[in-house]
């Protein structure tokens, strides 16, 4: 499995050719965003281990797939529909970082984003967000809005019925959706070979009458280019695209996972030297875009920004029992209001 997946990946290292579509300053920004995503994952794990927030799934190894795709969308015009690893994409598209931490700390309304933010809340049910993305794209077109919807999921979620139903419907409705399938090789402990017998998940696109392509998911430029093509196609009314970004989960599934129980050490070997951040750094270096000391400055600034947001989230008021009842209904009705009073009284 690993060998086959490795074949899908071009060797690491810069070619000295800047990919069209991402200018030099954007390439530096992409690198910064990848450092941000990595730091956010690492900080999340530390805070969880310290008992300061709940279970979180990291993005280690998938930064190029996330950052390359999120930057191919136009902020304020296009929509991001996340699963749960794509926190960096949520922040890039307008979700305040403090709300990301509030979510994992259990604050009510943490997923109420500022008005106009075109990002849906974190989705815990795998692939459940795919039909939402299709309905959203279809609805935008119905109302003359040319926004494009990018929806993230993984190769495990691709086995869900919702993935099939959503991609089929996207084909029928010619919905302006980019299905960004991050194939990281693992669904918790289940390897790709037990998830599917197919050589390519992108090949499924043909069965739905939508466009499909595989891309080196650890190459931020390649991901950006493929996503930009898919966005342009969707914007032009040509319908949906399934992009399979071949990547690798460098860490555990989430803070509750113990990969030593199921991963053979040699499974990582083909991926050594393929860290998307290392590859982006090499590319920048080859093109003379990363001056000495810049990365350290970026890392310091990112670390401070993330630490400040986490601290601010911890300072937000702890939720009382009334938090349970907020926004269950627009109009809660007598019965729920009684339950609310009883619960608050009972806790006194």
């Amino acid at each position: 499995m690993a060998a086959k997946r490795a074949e899908n990946n071009p060797s690491s290292g810069g070619t000295g050719v800047t990919t069209p579509g991402l200018a030099a300053e954007q390439l530096v920004e992409a690198f910064r965003q990848m450092l941000f995503a990595r730091n956010l994952s690492e900080r999340g794990f530390i805070l969880q281990r310290q008992g300061r927030m709940g279970t979180i799934a990291g993005a280690q190894g998938q930064e190029a797939a996330i950052v390359g795709s999120m930057m191919a969308l136009e902020r304020g015009r296009d929509w991001v529909v996340p699963q749960y690893r794509e926190l960096a994409a949520m922040v890039y598209h307008g979700v305040p970082l403090v709300q990301i931490f509030q979510y994992f700390m259990g604050a009510p309304r943490a997923s109420r984003f500022p008005a106009g933010t075109k990002v849906l809340p974190i989705q815990i049910a795998l692939a459940a967000q795919l039909p939402h993305a299709v309905g959203l794209g279809w609805g935008l077109r119905h109302q003359g809005d040319d926004g494009v919807v990018l929806v993230y999921f993984g190769e495990g979620a691709a086995s869900e019925g919702d993935a099939h139903e959503a991609m089929n419907l996207a084909g029928v409705r010619k919905a302006p959706v980019v299905f960004m399938l991050q194939n990281n090789g693992w669904a918790i402990s289940t390897p790709l070979k037990l998830q599917t017998a197919a050589e390519s998940l992108a090949a499924r696109a043909e069965g739905y009458g939508i466009a499909g392509e595989q891309v080196d998911g650890n190459d931020v430029l390649a991901v950006h280019e493929a996503t930009a093509r898919a966005v342009a196609r969707a914007r032009a009314g040509e319908g949906a695209t399934l992009i399979e970004a071949i990547t690798y989960r460098m860490g555990p599934h989430n803070t509750a996972d113990d990969p030593t129980r199921y991963v053979e050490p040699e499974a990582f070997e083909p991926w050594e030297g393929m860290d998307p951040i290392d590859r982006a750094r090499e590319r920048l270096g080859a093109e003379g875009l990363l001056e000495e000391g810049v990365e350290d400055e970026l890392r310091t600034a990112i670390g401070e920004e993330i630490a400040a947001a986490a601290a601010a989230a911890e300072r937000s008021a702890a939720a009382g029992p009334e938090g349970l009842f907020e926004e269950v209904y627009a109009d809660p009705g007598v019965r729920l209001l009684r339950q609310r009073s009883e619960l608050i009284e009972g806790n006194r």
Binding site: P131, H132, L140, L169, G333
Partner: protein, 326 residues
């Protein structure tokens, strides 16, 4: 007032709401050219076009799930599940997504979605078409569960459902589609959620029902009257929100209650009705409350359903027992 059956009332209401608000779109299997397998959407595609009356792929999860996205985009989707039994294949989307998105988003994403679904027995359907699965949706906080018994309420509650900011599961009794005819108010007619309907007043026993079981309760009340037992009949209309006070008062007035539903007995909504009365009107009770339900067995096919669905005879027997107890 115009006399019509329930399916006509539903069709007219959908047309009126689509006319009133261009954000309203109808989606489901066979809702377009065919006009729905029960003709509840007959003529809508001709009138409003195939962009607003949308024939969907045969995938219940995609129907409910895409409704979430359509609502986020600013539309008001009215989705049809061809039969409630098949909504099981969309249950994860209805329970985990449609019902929860408002809560999950802290009120940022309203879900003004209606999911219409016919259900209930006595029409000789194939397997899985008639199951009364309303209680499982009552256990899905965030969605309202509405079950009209008359054509007038079909209009009033559907109008309210389309205009409501919360998602609504709107249950239509298969047996009532054509059989239930009554006077429907013309023009604007809404019925608020959470207010039960007193079908008839009586002194001895209160019979509680919703949807098609209301007709059975009324028939049983007629039979009881012939024996000198005076029954009150109430139609809950909406299970969520539940009219707790109206229910407790209706039972307290007689001190005796029989609940009738087509779903299996265990953990059916009848259990919730009885628990609620017990909490709010225990000291008014003169006799144990009774349930007349389907047995805890799968819905049968063919003529066996005559034994499965509560009949007026079975309800009458429960009324007698309750009236004589204590």
């Amino acid at each position: 007032m115009t006399e019509m059956n329930m399916v006509e009332a539903i069709r007219d209401t959908l047309a009126a709401e689509m006319e009133r608000d261009e954000r309203v779109i109808v989606l489901g299997q066979d809702v377009g050219r065919l006009g729905g397998v029960f003709r509840a959407t007959d003529g809508l595609e001709e009138r409003f076009g195939e962009e607003r009356v949308v024939d969907m792929p045969l995938a219940e999860g995609a129907i409910a799930g895409s409704a979430v996205g359509l609502a986020i985009s600013g539309l008001v989707p009215v989705a049809e599940m061809q039969f409630l039994g098949f909504a099981a294949q969309a249950f994860h989307q209805i329970e985990g997504q449609v019902a929860r998105m408002r809560y999950r988003s802290g009120g940022g994403l309203a879900m003004p979605i209606v999911i219409r679904a016919p259900f209930g027995g006595n029409v000789r359907t194939p397997e899985l078409h008639s199951d009364s699965q309303e209680a499982r949706y009552v256990q899905a906080p965030g969605i309202k569960v509405v079950a009209p018994a008359t054509a007038a309420d079909a209009k009033g509650l559907l109008t309210q459902a389309v205009r409501d900011q919360d998602p609504v599961l709107y249950l239509e009794p298969l047996a009532g589609y054509r059989l239930q005819r009554d006077d429907v108010p013309e023009g604007e007619h809404t019925v608020p959620f959470g207010k039960l309907r007193t079908v008839r007043e009586g002194a001895d026993v209160t019979v509680v029902a919703w949807s098609a079981a209301v007709r059975v309760a009324e028939a049983a009340a007629d039979l009881a009257a012939a024996e000198g037992i005076s029954c009150s009949v109430v139609d809950l209309r909406t299970l969520v929100p539940l009219d707790e006070d109206g229910l407790a008062e209706a039972v307290a007035r007689t001190g005796r209650a029989v609940v009738v539903h087509e779903a299996p007995c265990s953990a059916g909504f009848g259990a919730e009705v009885i628990a609620t009365v017990q909490e709010h009107a225990f000291w008014s009770l003169k006799a144990p409350m009774a349930r007349v339900t389907a047995p805890d067995t799968p819905y049968p096919i063919g003529r066996l359903e005559e034994h499965y669905v509560p009949s007026a005879t079975r309800v009458l027997a429960a009324i007698r027992r309750t009236a004589e107890a204590g």
